[in-house]
C-alpha cells in the first residue's frame, strides 16, 4: 500500500529509491567514491552497505574512467551497476567509457547486448564552487545518441525516476542539483517508478510556456507566483528527462500559448534550452506570437568569490522580466519586488557548506 502522508527530502527520496530497487533486484550493485563513508554522499547512500553487504555496495579507487568501464563490463555479464559521483566535474575523466563504450555498445554490436548502468552525478551552483565544481553539463550528455539523461526536480519524481533509471536497459545519466537535496515533498512509500521521457506540467496557464529543468523549476515557480498576481498565467513544463525530450508536451503547450521561454541551469551556448528554442521555432513557427526567449548561465566559467557571483545566476526576477517583456508590459518594479536574496549563494539556511 502506498501512502502519500509523509514529506521527505530529495536526498532521502534518492536513498529510498536505491534501497527499494536493490531489495527488488539482487543484480543491482552500487558503488562510487564515498558511498560507504560517514557522510554517505549527502545521506543519499545511507545504510546501503549495512543492508546489502560490501559485495554489492562499495567504495572505489579514485579511478573515474576505469570504474565506468568496469560498470559497462559488469552490466554485460549480468549485473545492474549504479555509480555515484559527488561532483559531475570529476566524472569528466570518464568521458571515454561513457561515450565510446556505454552509449555505443547496444548500437555498434548490432543490438545484441545493452548496458544497463546508471550514473548519478551531482551538480550545482553557489558557495564558491567555482569554475570546476559547478558545471551543469546536461547538454553534453544530451548530445549523445544511446544515452538517456534524467534530471528531476521534486523528491517524488526523483525517487520514481531513479528507480526507472536503474531498471532501464540503457545507460542513464541521472543528474541531481545540489540545491534540491534538502527540498521536501510528499513521496509515496514503497517501490514505484516513473516513466523516463515524459515531462510534467507543474503549472497550467495560457500566456507563456516556460520549459524548465531541475533547480530552475523552483525559480520558475517563484516567478509564476509573482506573475499570477499581475494576471499573467504560465504553462510550466518540467522536462524531467533531457534525452529523449518529450517534444509533444512542449509543442502542445506552445500551440496554446504562442510564447516560449526556455530555462537552463547550464551555460547558454549549446544549451538544452537552445535546442528547445530551435525545435519550437522550426516545428511551431506558425503558432508563435513573439520571438522565443531563453535564460541560462553566462557563457563564462562560474567564478568563486561571492562578490563575483552576485547577479550571476538566473533567478525568479529574471524569469518574470523575460515573461513580461514577451507580453509587452512594464517590468520596472520587478527588481524591487524580487531582489536577489541575501546571501545569494546558498539555497537556504540549511546549507552551511562546505560543498
Amino acid at each position: 500500500m502506498q501512502s502519500n502522508n509523509r514529506e521527505i527530502t530529495f536526498a532521502t527520496a534518492i536513498n529510498e529509491a536505491i534501497h527499494e530497487t536493490m531489495a527488488a533486484n539482487d543484480n543491482v550493485i552500487c558503488y562510487g567514491l564515498g558511498v560507504t563513508d560517514p557522510k554517505a554522499v549527502f545521506d543519499t547512500t545511507k545504510n546501503l552497505e549495512q543492508k546489502f553487504g560490501s559485495e554489492r555496495v562499495f567504495d572505489m579507487p579514485t579511478s573515474e574512467n576505469a570504474m565506468t568501464g568496469i560498470a559497462v563490463g559488469a552490466s554485460l555479464n549480468g549485473l545492474i551497476p549504479l555509480m555515484t559521483h559527488q561532483r559531475l566535474d570529476f566524472f569528466l575523466l570518464a568521458m571515454d567509457q561513457l561515450i565510446n563504450s556505454a552509449s555505443k555498445w547496444h548500437y555498434m554490436f548490432g543490438s545484441q547486448q545493452s548496458v544497463p548502468i546508471t550514473i548519478r552525478l551531482i551538480l550545482g551552483r553557489g558557495w564558491g564552487q567555482g569554475p570546476t565544481h559547478s558545471q551543469n553539463l546536461q547538454a553534453w550528455f544530451a548530445h549523445m545518441p544511446g544515452l538517456k539523461v534524467v534530471m528531476p526536480t521534486t523528491p517524488e519524481d526523483a525517487k520514481g525516476l531513479l528507480t526507472a533509471s536503474i531498471l532501464d536497459p540503457n545507460p542513464v545519466v541521472f543528474l541531481e542539483h545540489r540545491w534540491l537535496h534538502n527540498v521536501k515533498g510528499f513521496v509515496p512509500e514503497g517501490f514505484y517508478s516513473k516513466p523516463i521521457g515524459k515531462a510534467k506540467k507543474v503549472k497550467s496557464g495560457i500566456d507563456v510556456t516556460i520549459v524548465t529543468m531541475s533547480y530552475m523549476t523552483i525559480e520558475a515557480l517563484h516567478a509564476v507566483e509573482y506573475l499570477e498576481k499581475m494576471g499573467i498565467s504560465c504553462d510550466v513544463i518540467d522536462l524531467l528527462t533531457i534525452r529523449p525530450i518529450d517534444w509533444d508536451s512542449i509543442f502542445n503547450s506552445v500551440k496554446v500559448t504562442g510564447r516560449i521561454l526556455a530555462l537552463d541551469t547550464g551555460f547558454t551556448t549549446g544549451s538544452v534550452a537552445g535546442e528547445i528554442i530551435a525545435r519550437v521555432s522550426m516545428d511551431c513557427f506558425d503558432f508563435l506570437k513573439c520571438k522565443p526567449s531563453r535564460l541560462a548561465m553566462p557563457d563564462m566559467p562560474e567564478p568563486t568569490s561571492p562578490a563575483l557571483t552576485k547577479g550571476f545566476y538566473v533567478r525568479a526576477s529574471d524569469i518574470v522580466i523575460a515573461v513580461i517583456q514577451m507580453l509587452g508590459k512594464d517590468f520596472s518594479m520587478v527588481k524591487n519586488d524580487l531582489p536577489e536574496p541575501i546571501p545569494h549563494d546558498i539555497p537556504g539556511d540549511w546549507f552551511k557548506g562546505p560543498f
Binding site: 543484480n27 550493485i29 559485495e55 554489492r56 572505489m60 579507487p61 579511478s63 574512467n65 576505469a66 570504474m67 565506468t68 568501464g69 568496469i70 560498470a71 559497462v72 563490463g73 559488469a74 552490466s75 554485460l76 555479464n77 549480468g78 549485473l79 571515454d96 567509457q97 565510446n100 563504450s101 555498445w105 547496444h106 548500437y107 555498434m108 554490436f109 548490432g110 543490438s111 545484441q112 547486448q113 545493452s114 544497463p116 545518441p145 544511446g146 538517456k148 536497459p169 540503457n170
Partner: protein
C-alpha cells in the same frame, strides 16, 4: 604436451594467418570499406589463449581483433560479413572490423580506442566474482595501451578486488608508427611495472605457441586457485602496416633488417618445422589442413559477398534497448 595440442595450435595459427592473408588479397577491391588492422605475425598468442580457456570464459580485444576473435572460436562467416558491412555480420554491419563480437563463444567485444576495452574486461570479471559464475576474463591489449590511464586504473582495481582477470599484453614494439623507445623509458619493462602493481607476472616469447600456451595455462590455474589477477607479456611483431594490408618497411619508421629478423621468428614456421622434424606431423597432413582451411575461407567470403546489405533504414534503429 600431447601431439594433438601441437596440431591444434598449428592449425589454429594457420587458420588465423590464412584468413588475414585472404583479407589482404581482397581488400584492394574496395568492398571491405572500413579500417582494418591485421595480425599477421602475431598468431601464436590468440591461438594459445583460445585453446587454453573454455567457451564460458570471456575475452575482450582491440582494434587489432580478428585473430583474437578467431582464436576464441568466433564464427568466421559472421566476421567476414561484418567487415563487408553486411546484415549477416556479427554486428549487423554497424561495427565493422574494429567491433567484432560473438557472445556464443565468450568473445565479448572489441574496441577501437586504445585501452578502452581493459576496464570493460575487468567489469566482466567483477560480475563473474559477484555472481559466482567462475568465468575468467581474458583481456588482450598491446604495449601502447599500457601507456593509458585506464590500464593502471583497471589493474589496480582488479588487484584490490582479486578478480579473475588474465591480462595479455602483446608487445609488438610499435604504437602505430611510434617505437617503444620514444614512449617508455629504456630498461623499464612493462611486466616489471605490472608486477609492482600486484599482478602475478610472466614474460614469454609470444612467437612461440607452445611456450605461450604453457604460460597461459599456468596463469589460468593461478587465477582458478584464487591467486588473483595475472599478467603475461608476450614479445611479438606486426609484419604489416598498422592499419591496412600492405608491407610498409620502406617508409622509414622501422628497418627491413628488423622485420626480417622477426620474420625468421615466424610462430607458424617455427612450430611447423619442429613438428615435421620430430615427425609428429607429415607434409601430407599439412596439405590437408591447408585445403580444409582454404575451403572454409572460400565459404566464408562467398557467404559475406552473397549476403545482402542492411536496409538503409537500419541506420536509424537500435539507439536504445527496449
Amino acid at each position: 604436451m600431447v601431439t594433438d595440442l601441437n596440431l591444434e595450435l598449428l592449425t589454429l595459427m594457420m587458420r588465423i594467418r590464412m584468413v588475414e592473408e585472404e583479407i589482404a588479397r581482397e581488400y584492394p577491391k574496395g568492398e571491405m570499406r572500413c579500417p582494418t588492422h591485421l595480425s599477421i605475425g602475431q598468431e601464436a598468442v590468440p591461438a594459445a589463449l583460445g585453446l587454453c580457456v573454455s567457451i564460458k570464459d570471456m575475452a575482450m580485444s582491440t582494434h587489432r581483433g580478428h585473430a583474437h576473435y578467431i582464436g576464441k572460436g568466433g564464427n568466421l562467416k559472421s566476421m567476414i560479413a561484418e567487415i563487408y558491412g553486411k546484415s549477416t555480420g556479427c554486428s549487423k554491419g554497424k561495427g565493422g572490423s574494429m567491433h567484432l563480437i560473438d557472445n556464443s563463444v565468450g568473445f565479448m567485444g572489441t574496441s577501437a580506442i586504445v585501452g578502452n576495452s581493459i576496464p570493460v574486461g575487468v567489469g566482466l570479471a567483477l560480475a563473474s566474482k559477484i555472481r559466482k559464475t567462475e568465468q575468467i576474463s581474458c583481456i588482450f591489449f598491446g604495449d601502447g595501451a599500457t601507456e593509458e590511464g585506464s590500464y593502471y586504473e583497471s589493474v589496480n582495481f582488479a588487484v584490490v578486488k582479486k578478480l579473475p582477470v588474465l591480462f595479455l599484453c602483446e608487445n609488438n614494439l610499435y604504437s602505430v608508427y611510434s617505437p617503444l623507445n620514444v614512449r617508455q623509458p629504456e630498461g623499464r619493462k612493462i611486466s616489471t611495472v605490472a608486477k609492482a602493481m600486484g599482478l602475478g607476472v610472466d614474460e614469454v616469447d609470444g612467437n612461440n605457441a607452445i611456450e605461450s600456451f604453457k604460460s597461459i595455462e599456468s596463469a589460468v590455474q593461478r587465477i582458478q586457485n584464487n591467486q588473483g589477477p595475472q599478467f603475461i607479456e608476450f614479445s611479438t611483431y606486426r609484419w604489416l602496416e598498422h592499419c591496412g594490408v600492405n608491407y610498409d618497411n620502406d617508409i622509414g619508421y622501422r628497418t627491413e633488417e628488423e622485420y626480417l629478423r622477426w620474420k625468421k621468428n615466424d610462430p607458424i614456421s617455427k612450430l611447423k618445422d619442429k613438428l615435421l622434424q620430430e615427425k609428429l606431423i607429415s607434409e601430407v597432413q599439412i596439405k590437408e589442413i591447408i585445403a580444409k582451411i582454404e575451403f572454409e575461407i572460400k565459404e566464408a567470403f562467398a557467404f559475406a559477398k552473397e549476403s545482402s546489405f542492411p536496409e538503409n533504414s537500419e541506420a536509424y534503429i537500435g539507439e536504445y534497448a527496449i
